[in-house]
Symmetry: C2
Subunit: 507 residues, 2 copies
């Protein structure tokens, strides 16, 4: 038993969570998990071996069928819901529990990000068990005497979100084996196009609203707190992004001959970036902070209760400083503007002493509940215009170039979402916090908002139900990137957390 597991066990034994509850199925689930680790891993590996890149519909559909099958076998009534024929299916599964008065909707997505990133140390759809970081050496878990909880299973979607799906299925199996009935009616809604930006999901939910409706929505997406402690959140920030392209001469110019005369797009794009935000993260667009919701006393208290992770993060990330507020999550309470990329001119083998023809930068905003993407887009464009930029939507023709000294092509991302905000002190939210605290043996961390965004905002609005985010993946799971992985201990803990939610959630 690892030191941390031992301390957790002790804490539970000693009632350290303040509300140790005999109803908690933790002990039974823990024992079942220990006895079935290898079967769970075999099942999880099979799930992860199914290619699920969001843009390949046939692969996504094969996953939906497979997951539906897993749930049917366990007694769920399943359906594949679609917004329209030819769009990705959401796996919907329902289990009515005699005597239960509440219905909890568990959300996750089963589709995955592209796998074309460089630097994968294993094959994305051939799950590979690896020793603890930083070594990450391949290890034969089937032959190993014991499974180290710090080992990690590398595969696309291991953390985001197939880990959530596996944890819930295993939690259900564990409860069944222990003869513990769920305390709530269960609905599962597993989306198949989240990594594409959920273009049809709002329509899908609207079309099947009565089917998917519930009293509480639990989001099993995203990584957990950097401290390794279980965290829940009550909302996501909104998001909108754009790409700005600025123009110089129609062909590259020798900078010796033209460098003091021809406008330089590499300089123009740098100036545009610095006009939008500064090095400290402060956004310079007038009005951008006007509609930000004030941070409540409860939010402040929750934020203050978060353990220090900043010191360790700086060390791990090699940062000699941070910007903005010293505490990471304090920054989630106001909008953020990130410069995703900046590019102009030839570098490397094609480098030349030349003035580039164009340059671009790519941005995304994370938004407060008070702000809509539409409002932020309008503020941004008004500010660019005020600075003398002539905004176009397509590459400008010669006449346009000649007529306007400073042209910027602004292309807003197709996807955007508003922020979501559920109360931290609602009865369902409090029940989730209590259940998880009982399971993990310490007061669960509460984040008023996750810093991230989610297409779930519209869904929450449609369902008119509170939402709580329950993440189980390690924070360093490399989601969206090469070498995505799930730490074994996180899967084990996740099974217990989900089992607790299924079995002892009451409000």
């Amino acid at each position: 038993m690892k030191a941390r597991d031992l301390m957790t066990a002790l804490a539970i034994a000693l009632g350290a969570a303040g509300a140790a509850d005999a109803a908690s199925p933790k002990a039974a689930v823990h024992a079942w998990r220990v006895a079935h680790e290898r079967e769970i891993l075999a099942d999880f590996s099979t799930l992860l071996s199914k290619p699920n890149v969001a843009t390949t519909l046939a692969d996504v559909d094969a996953n939906a069928v497979y997951i539906s099958g897993l749930l049917e076998k366990r007694g769920f009534a399943t359906q594949l819901l679609r917004a329209d024929p030819g769009t990705p299916a959401s796996v919907f599964a329902e289990l009515k529990v005699p005597g239960a008065t509440r219905t909890v909707v568990f959300y996750a997505h089963y589709d995955g990000q592209p796998i074309s990133q460089k630097g994968w140390i294993s094959t994305p759809f051939e799950p590979s068990m690896r020793t603890a970081l930083p070594e990450a050496k391949p290890v034969d878990w089937k032959a190993a005497a014991t499974l180290d909880p710090d080992w990690r299973l590398f595969a696309r979607s291991a953390g985001d979100d197939k880990g959530s799906i596996q944890a819930l299925i295993s939690a259900f199996d564990a409860l069944k084996a222990a003869g513990i009935a769920p305390s709530v009616n269960i609905k599962l809604l597993y989306e198949g196009e989240e990594e594409q930006g959920s273009p049809h999901f709002a329509k899908l939910v609207a079309k099947h609203l009565e089917t998917v409706r519930g009293d509480l929505l639990i989001m099993g997406d995203g990584p957990m707190h950097q401290s390794g402690k279980q965290e829940i959140n009550f909302g996501n920030r909104g998001i909108t992004g754009f790409k700005a392209t600025v123009y110089g001469p129609l062909k590259p110019l020798h900078d010796g001959h033209y460098g003091s005369w021809a406008p330089s797009p590499t300089v123009m794009i740098a100036g545009l970036v610095m006009s939008l935000r500064d090095d400290s993260g402060h956004i310079l667009i007038p009005g951008i902070y006007d509609e930000v919701t004030p941070v409540s006393a409860a939010d402040k208290a929750a934020l203050a209760a978060l353990p220090d992770v900043e010191t360790g993060l700086k060390q791990t990330l090699g940062l000699g400083r941070n910007i903005g507020p010293g505490r990471l999550a304090d920054g989630y309470m106001t909008p953020t503007l990130n410069v995703r990329a900046i590019h102009g001119g030839d570098d490397g083998p094609n480098a030349a002493n030349a003035i580039a023809t164009e340059a671009n930068a790519s941005f995304d905003f994370r938004l407060d509940p008070g702000e809509t993407p539409a409002k932020v887009r309008a503020l941004t464009e008004a500010y660019l215009t005020k600075q003398g930029w002539f905004i176009v939507r397509a590459t400008p023709d010669l006449a346009t170039r000649l007529a306007h000294p400073k042209i910027v092509k602004v292309e807003w991302d197709e996807g955007s979402s508003i922020a979501t905000e559920s109360p931290m002190d609602g009865p369902a939210a409090k029940a989730v916090a209590a259940s998880i605290s009982r399971t993990v043996g310490y007061p669960v961390l509460k984040l008023p908002f996750s810093g991230a965004s989610s297409g779930m905002a519209e869904i929450v609005n449609q369902l008119k139900a509170p939402m709580v985010g329950v993440s189980i993946a390690n924070y360093d799971d490399n989601q969206h990137a090469q070498n995505e992985n799930l730490r074994l201990g996180n899967l084990w803990d996740g099974i217990e957390v989900y089992a607790g939610l299924l079995a002892d959630l009451n409000w």
Copy 2:
């Protein structure tokens, strides 16, 4: 006959250059060229078909041997000069002329830029004749009844500099055919590593100084004036450049979770760029303008006499404005800082809402004769340091990253050169101006400096001889880029200009 050719002929007939001279070989050379256009083009095509990418020594040597052979056949004494065994050769050729008291050294380089750029419409070492721009359709010049002077021959080094070499050889042939003896002793110095930044050329010249010494150095490199008029210049600006890399987190971070807390390298690099120069081209490094040589009255007069090309350039280049001084060449009299490239973050298919791990920008300075590269490097680094940047020379390790909040890796280009400056009113310079004016039929344009730079600065210092730049290539020859080309009319005119310099240069 094209309108421009006709006007030139008329101008000569009418003595418009103010100093029409019976000694000018123009008429004889012109007649010979018209009669031998196809032979000249066949020879030029053969020369251009020899791969000469500067980094491939065997190819470069094959060119040297071939060019030496061409010159030996014409009675020159040739040698291949090298700084050291295994370094590229300079072709040296000498012709002593009975009775001549002056020796003129003609410089050009026979090596070429890489050919890996995208967008070549023909194969770089398979010369392709094309109709006038913008059509540039392939044309069979061997079968054509007449050769349009606006046609262009596309090939690597067509303009930079094999065109100069061909023009001089053809000029020599034309004079010989007409029985006109050169008026000066001729030395040819054709470099083989200019496009690599001439790493061994200064040593080569120092080693063979007495061999290559002369009374006047004529540089046959670079494009001519945008007006299409013949131009001479009396110097080049110096050059030094660097790449700056700034650092964020050791791995890409989700900007929803970390965007208000982790420093952003894409923002840092934009800020660094804007701290060095502004949109108008003004350099912000303290002291950078302190040692700039004041513009003399003669310089001002020469600059003022340059024809308007700016209006047409803006139209051609699609520019709705210019920066800096309104006249292009006025900008050559002060240093220029160009931002060659700026890069950070993933764009396109790998774009992510992430904070990049690093970003970089690449810069080059064009320097005034008063400034040395070393001085400018020192000013730049002092300024970066004063802004809080910790300068490193290699990718920083973890301890360095943690110890310094703002780190920039500064990598100066291996090559750099000082500026060269020859007097516009020296006797040799005046003789060159007079000869070319006689040939072209109008007062040759005089540029105190070319905006460009050249490794010849050290050579000029070693030779202690005045230098005049005589360019014959069309300004839009795409030198260094894809689709390099030489306009046929420029080759024809260049033959006459070189023939004039060989035959009637006296001071």
